[in-house]
Symmetry: C2
Subunit: 336 residues, 2 copies
């Protein structure tokens, strides 16, 4: 292991290298996904397909595939497991949209709007069960332990986020704990299992876990920044959703912490749900800009992305590692 | 194996023998349940405990425990697995109540009413994940395969029930397929895994699967009969719920099949949701009585309970077998 500074390149970071690295394997993963979301009940593939075919980036399975390339795994077990990871993620998204009453995702109507909450909850359950079936077929108890553990942690993070909703007193530490669970746990698990199927050392497993975990936190921080960033037009992200739902994200936490007494009164009312009109959102956005809270959130994200890249330093320099580093850089450059 | 007619006793069948048979082990199961529904997020045990401590009969884990007694299993692995079964069941109930918008269960307010739909969906997900963690700790891939398969089947049954809702043309065959999935699959799995941990023969596994599956169908049939049976006051069951929700259950299917043209028009309107007042429910109940649809439903239940009992005939006559037979008899005598 060498202490090594991974330099950020001058050119615009891109997902192209990691997409190219994983393209062939991702075709196999997509085949498994399409095959295993089927059911005799036609509503199930219709509803699942609405989200799964709806232009998701397949980021989490991509981590599994890229990790497998990084460690030189030559088998195919990771295809099924990457599909399982995507199913867990999809189940979570379906339930999230019900929980939040969201109306659009990735630029189209959510499944709960098209098919109703009841079917959306149940198809989420189905996909979650299918994920476990896929893991059981693979047969690794170690992978099962990692992914069932991650699933329990995700659910706890989601509940904690719900509890923190509309609570202006939520701290940055609490927020980081929430996103560490609801987002980063699955990123970490998806990345780690590539090392497990390749029978890598514990050290390599830990490194891939750390890469995924830090990338997940960075990714969520940027997502949360974009929700208040008027300068960007990230595809499929509905600006102001977090504000209207009273979700406590880092831009708000920082703007509140750095605000004066009058501003704090505004935030208390807004997050409590009493000021959610368009003009309130505009005011909130102005306050966030005034205190550089978007820039600060992005700076935090860069910190975690750097940690993700540095975690890979125990692996030899190769095309896979370079692609994974650039993916982390891309994650924090989104929406600029 | 001997072809054997299990005689129904003259005395009122009771759950007492199976409760007594499994009492000690059930204490251990309850300890696992209480221990593993904990979380750092206090809302999770509060919400889960609302349902779990709310007087459920623990029927499914009881099947695992009774099966273990039947085959003379001397270990403790089944305690953790029985808790996993109860967690899967609890997760399903929480999601069911959200899906149906139910307001009471077991004579008290549902979790979705007390804690809201969002938290109820997410805590269901948490319990489902915990169930898999418990199974992974046990470490049997065979058990994992049985229970992950059952979970996927349950979800499909629930979706199919949702699709059939408000559709008067639903056939008895379709209904049996739905309850075979949404209810009987977990009864079958809970019963079967006792044979797996005891390393029984395939024949014994199949017999315990058949016992659980047929008992599950019988149990659901009686539940559905009770919902229209004015002569009974089953604790915690809210009469007329199925009617108001337009759920197609066997009493309705039979009353519709046996009804004349005018009656069929009534059923079409009622199941479609246009006649759901108390007087409509009274009329529906009268039609069901007129065509002996409750008695016919109970008769179908007895058929499955008898099949459940007969499936046990490959096992030696002993206290456990007698208790399991009586439990099946009790299941179909409920509400008389």
């Amino acid at each position: 292991m060498s202490a090594q500074v991974v330099e950020f390149p001058r050119k615009e970071p891109s997902l192209a290298p990691i997409l190219s690295l994983t393209a062939t394997a991702m075709n196999s993963v997509n085949s498994v996904i399409l095959d295993r979301m089927q059911s005799e009940i036609p509503l199930i593939p219709a509803l699942a397909g609405h989200l799964i075919s709806g232009g998701g980036k397949r980021m989490r399975p991509m981590l599994t595939l890229a990790g497998a390339e990084l460690v030189g795994y030559g088998g195919t077990r990771h295809h099924r497991l990457a599909a399982a990871v995507e199913f867990i993620h999809t189940a979570t998204l379906l339930h999230d949209d019900v929980v939040d009453g969201s109306e659009t995702r990735r630029g189209k109507e959510t499944a709960n709007i098209v098919f109703g909450n009841p079917a959306t909850v149940l198809v989420g359950d189905f996909l979650f069960s299918r994920a476990f079936e896929l893991m059981v077929e693979d047969g690794s108890l170690k992978v099962l332990k990692i992914l069932s553990g991650a699933s329990a942690i995700i659910a706890q993070g989601e509940v904690d986020q719900l509890v923190a909703q509309r609570r202006i007193e939520t701290s940055e530490e609490r927020y980081l704990s929430i996103i560490g669970r609801k987002t980063a746990a699955l990123f970490a698990a998806a990345s780690r299992i590539s090392a497990v199927v390749a029978e890598c050392s514990e050290e390599e497993e830990e490194a891939l876990d750390a890469y995924g975990r830090n990338l997940g936190i960075a990714f969520q921080l940027v997502d949360d920044a974009i929700d208040y960033d008027t300068g960007t037009a990230e595809m499929g992200k509905d600006k102001g959703d977090d504000f209207r739902e009273g979700k406590m994200t880092l831009p708000v936490i920082l703007a509140y912490a750095r605000g004066d007494a009058e501003e704090r009164l505004f935030w208390q009312d807004a997050i409590a749900g009493f000021r959610i009109e368009d003009e309130d959102l505009e005011h909130a956005t102005r306050l966030i800009q005034r205190h550089d809270a978007i820039a600060a959130t992005r700076e935090r994200a860069r910190h975690y992305a750097q940690r993700a890249c540095d975690a890979l330093s125990i692996f030899p320099e190769n095309k896979a590692r370079a692609a994974m580093v650039e993916a982390a850089q891309f994650a924090v450059s989104r929406g600029y």
